[in-house]
Subunit: 304 residues, 2 copies
């Protein structure tokens, strides 16, 4: 099957078991690529490259089908879907991973069949070897803007592979503590500069409730977190941040520093909705009008 979308993402589509101080959900729809693509789809059509197992519920598929998300690269194979079980305690800032079952991810090898490669590509948090495979297939010079995410697990277990990916991307969207770990540097600005020297022109540091720090070849941009009275479930905040950010860049076709600021602001706002409910539930009740309204409020409460 052939198709054309301005934006593609490779990452995980998962079944999560999540416990927060406010409740528990046994089989929640999760995964980096799920959150990413749903968030991106508010701005642009997006193609999701991922794998699920036989147990993947059809109602989860239907959720993705609500939006302009191209599922022709969502592979279904024998075996079980990637499973993550995690828990958030009182302060909601860090997830404690209780269990990870890679399942169908262990054998996954993406095969891209794009008519013309997506101009914007996001390598969500997944094995750097898979990220590299996708880069090989898309053909790095053909995609206009490629960004990636990663996590402590890959930083520890697959550092050489990860560094090779970094050398090939234009941007990285990463948690502040993972940036510190990756760079071996406690000061965030110096950590960002070090990561920048390894490849990505744009280094975007996610700080959870504390906002975002952006480095774009010597230029800075700092955004506070949107103040939220109730955070229900932080799962997927970072992935939907990246999704809205990349979706906005792909929609506008503009990767300038000034436009990246707007994209980061949209990312922050969409992520602020994500955490208000379990799974994709809040995003499913969201529309662009609500996003624009909260963005207006955000602009007001962060300008002086």
């Amino acid at each position: 099957m052939k198709n054309k979308t301005p934006l593609a993402v490779i990452g995980t589509v998962a079944i999560d078991e999540v416990e927060t101080p406010f409740g528990k959900r046994d089989r929640a729809f999760g995964g980096s690529a799920s959150y990413f693509s749903y968030a991106a789809s508010f701005f642009t059509p997006v193609s999701l490259v991922a794998v699920v197992g036989e147990d993947f519920p059809s109602e989860f598929l239907k959720i993705l089908q609500e939006k302009p998300i191209d599922l022709s690269h969502l592979k279904r194979t024998s075996g079980k879907t990637f499973f993550w079980r995690g828990k958030y305690t009182y302060d909601l800032n860090t997830a404690e991973t209780l269990e990870t079952q890679l399942n169908v991810l262990t054998e996954f090898s993406p095969e891209l069949r794009f008519e013309s490669p997506p101009e914007f590509l996001f390598l969500a948090n997944i094995d750097p070897s898979l990220q590299a495979e996708v880069l090989d297939q898309v053909g790095r010079p053909k995609a206009r803007f490629v960004a990636c995410d990663t996590m402590n697990f890959w930083i520890e277990k697959k550092r050489p592979e990860l560094l090779k990916v970094l050398a090939r991307v234009d941007g990285i969207v990463i948690n502040e503590n993972e940036a510190r770990q990756l760079a071996g540097e406690s000061n965030l600005i110096r950590a960002a500069q070090k990561i920048h020297r390894w490849g990505p022109a744009k280094v975007i540091l996610k700080k959870g409730e504390h906002g975002v720090l952006v480095f774009d070849e010597g230029r800075f941009f700092a955004l506070p977190g949107f103040p939220l009275e109730s955070v229900f479930d932080p799962t997927g905040a970072g992935d939907s941040f990246a999704g809205a950010l990349m979706g906005y860049l792909a929609k506008t076709g503009d990767t300038s520093f000034e436009n990246l600021k707007q994209a980061v602001a949209y990312g922050s706002i969409v992520a602020s909705f994500t955490v208000e409910d379990f799974s994709l539930d809040r995003l499913r009740r969201l529309d662009l009008k609500q996003i624009e309204e909260r963005l207006g409020l955000f602009r007001k409460l962060s300008s002086f």
Copy 2:
């Protein structure tokens, strides 16, 4: 002796022993009121209400005399000056207190002899009983704007006294984690709202490198931290933040929400200089032009 200043602060004047990953200083000039008044003096004359012992070095006095800091309420008594010994490890975010000697503070009872009471008053981090004494003497209805700070030690040991002070102030400037502890609430917005209900109309939460969150009777203001490549010694950042903030409010005589935003931005910038060197060293090399320059940069890198 009588005198008149627009702003007064009661707090500690201390001798610190500070160790950071970048060096150590055995007898550093410190204390909440020292940092506060030096930072405030960039904007307005300020009166320092505090006590020191016989061992207080004359060169530290000279540092305060460099600026429009009225020292007529700086009492010198027999005994030793308040001493704090602390250490910052790798991440520089939290000080580990290794030793505290209250010394002359144990017997301190401030006697205010202002011709007319200061319009602006800051009760820096000190025993809430002393904060209350000062409030009694200034006469709460006479001072136009009173704000306070506090710390975990008083939250734990003198909670009833602290709550009485809170009921009498217009503003509180407090670390985010101490706000959480004081309110018994992990969500910062809800913590701020709870503290607001106990008294202060303006609740200003200091988040260190992550910036500031301001609550002013239902209105929010969020500011990221100024991105700093090298943080040398975080001691005094919070006190100089409060000093510049109150100094700017006193200078402009305007406590509106809009002007508070400017004051908070000035506070953040002055604090960003404080941490670039030990003790008051960086502030001593600072002038209003440098403050304005960095503020301009800050405005640029945080607007979208």
